[in-house]
Amino acid sequence: MKSITLKEKHRHKLPMGILSMALLPDGVGLVAGCMDGVYLTSIDKSREPKLLYSHGNYVSSVVSLGGDTIVSAGYDGTARWFDLAEQKLTDSVKLHDFWSWDMTASPDGKHLASVTGQYLAGGYKYEPQEESEPSIRVVDVASKQIVHSLPHVPSVQSVAISPDNQFVAAGNLMGEVRIYRIADGELVSQWTTSDFTSWGIIKSHCYLGGIFAMQFSRDGKHLLLAGMGPMRDPMAGNGKQLWQKWDWQAAEPKMIDQTHEGDAGEGLMETLAVHPSGEMFAMGGRLRGGDWNVALFDMQTGDRMAILKLGFRATEATFTPDGKHLVIVGTQGQPSKPKPKGDGFPDFGRVEVFAIESEAT
C-alpha cells in the first residue's frame, strides 16, 4: 500500500459560495458554479476570477465538454451552454420545473444527465409524494434535445454516468438508486439502502438525508455512494461520514464495502471523485465532528489513505487529469455583514489544490 501525503499547493477565494466545478482541458483553468453564477478562474491563481454568466439562481453543476464549451445547470431548472472562446451563452435548455440538484456529462461528452425533484408530503408519515415531472433528464449534447425522461422518487439529488457511457445512475433522498441504460432508457438495476436516510424521530416526522454523490469505479463494475449515515436527530447533521461501494451488476445489487470502522467522524458528504488510475477515490463534505472533511480511500481495500481538515464545506472534489493534484472547492459560512465600505460581502467561496505525494511503504 502507498503512503499518501496531501500537500497544499494553492488556495484562493471566489466572491460567493461554490457548489460545483469543472477543470478545463488545459488542466489549469477551472470553471466554478457558484450561488450567483459561473466563474472562470484557475487552479494556480494565474487567472483573475471572472463572472461569466448567471442562472438567476444557484448554479448546482458545471461540466466541460472539451474545447471551449462548458455547460451548467442550476436551481432555475435549465442547462446553459457557454462558449469560452466567444465569451457568450450559446444555448439554454429547460430541463426541469424544479431545481437541477445535480448534472453530469458522459465521459465521451455526448450526453448530459440532470436530476430534479421536490420532496413533498405524500402520506401521514411524510412518505414522498410521487414525482410531478420526470426526475431524470438525459440530453443529447449534439442536438441539445432531451432524449430520455426517466422516473424516480423525488427528490433525486445525485447522478453519475458510467465510464463506458452506457448507463446513468441516480440516487434520491430516500436512499433509492436506479440505473438506466442510456441507449434505450431501460431500467437495469434498482435498490434501496436505508443507510443514508433518517426518519425523523426527534425533532420532526419526515425523511432527511439521502445520497448526495455517486461515481462509478473506473472499470464500471462498482458504484460508489456518498452521504451521511442515519442520525437520531436529523437536524443535527451528525451522522457518520459515509461512503458505500456497490456491485450494481449483480442479480441482487450488493453492498461490498463501506466506510471502515474508526475511519469516520460526523458530517454530510457531498462529493466523490475517482482518481484517474482508478486506484483511489476522494470523498468530501462538511465536518460536524471528527478530524477530517476530505479523505482519500483505497478503491480496492477501502482503507483510508490520507485526510484533510479544511475550514470550509467541500462541495466538489476532482483530480487533475495527470492524477498529481486533488482540487477541492467549497464554501465557508456566509458572512453576516457586508464590508464596512459598502464594497459587497467578504469572499466566501474557496478553491484549494493539493499535490498528491506518495511513496511505497
Binding site: 421536490q118 402520506g123 424521530i201 426527534i202 425533532k203 419526515c206 437536524m235 460536524r288
Partner: protein
Amino acid sequence: MKHTHKTCGSPEHLLHRRLFLQGTMAASAASVASFNGLFSVPALADETKRRGKKCILLWLCGAPSQFETWDPKPGTPFSGPFGAIPTNLPGVQISSLMPKCAGIMDKLAVIRSMSTEPGEHFQGIDVLTRGDKPRQPFVRPILGSVVAEQLGHLDSPVPQFILLDPCPEGNEFKGFKAGNWAGWLGAQYGPVRAGGEYSIPNLNKLDTISDIDHQDREALRSFFSKKYENDRRSQAAGSLNAAFDRVKGLMSCAPLFDLNSLPEADRQRYGAGAFAQHALQARHLIENGSTFVMVANGMPWDNHVFQHEMHQMLVPELDNVLYQLVTDLEDRGMLEDTLVIAMGEFGRSPWLNAARGRDHYPKAWSLAMAGGGIRGGVVHGATDPLGHEVAEDAVDNRQLFATIFAALGIDPHEEYDLPDLPTFSRVEDGVAPIEQLLV
C-alpha cells in the same frame, strides 16, 4: 379588572396535567353518551357550540425562516435558493414556496417586524406561547389555557384546549411539553393531547358493562372523591375530579378525534402529512365546540442543516394548510370569529451557515395571522434590505399577545391576585395592542 384564583400552580397540577398530556386518564373511565346523541339535543348543542371567539394556533416549532416564508429578500446575497412572488396585495412579495397564500394575502395579517429576546428554543417557546418571560414563582399560563379559561366552557364535553402533535419526541419542545402548561389556572385548563400515537385510547365503554353500571360506578367514584377532596381540602383530589370530568367529555366526543371520520375530499384537499391532517382536524374540533386548538408536528423547522431539503417540503405544506384553513373558515362563516395564527418561537439568520442552513435569529422575524378580530391585507412592520434588523414598527412578545388577546375580546390588562404572590397582569406594563392589526 381584578381576577382571583384559588389554584397555585403546585406540583399537583403538574402531575395531573401530565396525565392529560399522556392521555392515560382516559384508560379506566366510563362513557355517558355518544357524541352524536349528545348533540341531538338542540339546547345542549347550542350551549356546547357557544358562539364566541376561537383560535387555531399552527405552532411552527423549531422556528421557520422568514426569508422562505413572509419576508423574502430577492436579489440579495441572503435570498437563498427559493425565489419571491407577487401577492394579491400590490407591491407585496412572499416566498415562491407559498403561491396559495399569495392569493389570499388580502385576508392575512403578516408581521414582518417581530423582535424578541430568547435565542434558544426552550426559552423562545416559553415566551412565545405564554406571552412573557418566566416570573417566579408562578407559572404564567400558555395562550391556549388563557383562551380556554376566558372563552371556553369548562362544562363542555368537548375539550376546550387541544394539542394535536404526533411527535412523542422533539428535543426542547419535548422538554417544554413535559412542563406546566396551564400554570396557575390549574389542570382543567391544560390541553388534551391527540394525534399520531396520542390517539386517546380506551375511550370506548366495554360491552360487558351496561350503561347503568357505568353510571353507578361513576356516581360512587365521584361521591368518594368529592368527600375526600372536601375532608382533606386536597387540591390534588380536586384536580383529579376535574380530570375525570374531562374524561367523561372526551368519551362523549371521541369521534371528533378520529381522522378517518373526516370527509375524504377534505383530507385530500388539506394534504397528506400529519400536520395538514391535524390542521383539518383542528377546524373540525373548532366547528364542534372546542375553543383553542394548537397544531404542532414536533420541532421540524430547526434547519441548521438540510435547510433546502426541509423547507422545500415544510413551506408548501404550510402554504396549503393556511390557505385551506382560512378559505374553509370563511366559506363556513367562521373566519370572523376564529383567529388563525401561524408562528414559531423566533426566526432564522439572514446568512446561510457552512452547512447551508440558517441558525436561530430572534432579532427580526415574521409571523402571520388571519380572522378572529384581526384585519386582513395588512403587512405590519419591515426589516432592512438584508433582513438584519427591524426597520419599522418593531413588535415584541407583549405587543403580540396584547394584540391577540384584544382580537379575541380578552382584556389584555386584566390583573391577577394570587395568594401570597405579587399582582401581575395578563400582559405586563400596560403594553397596548397593535391597532393597525385589529378589525
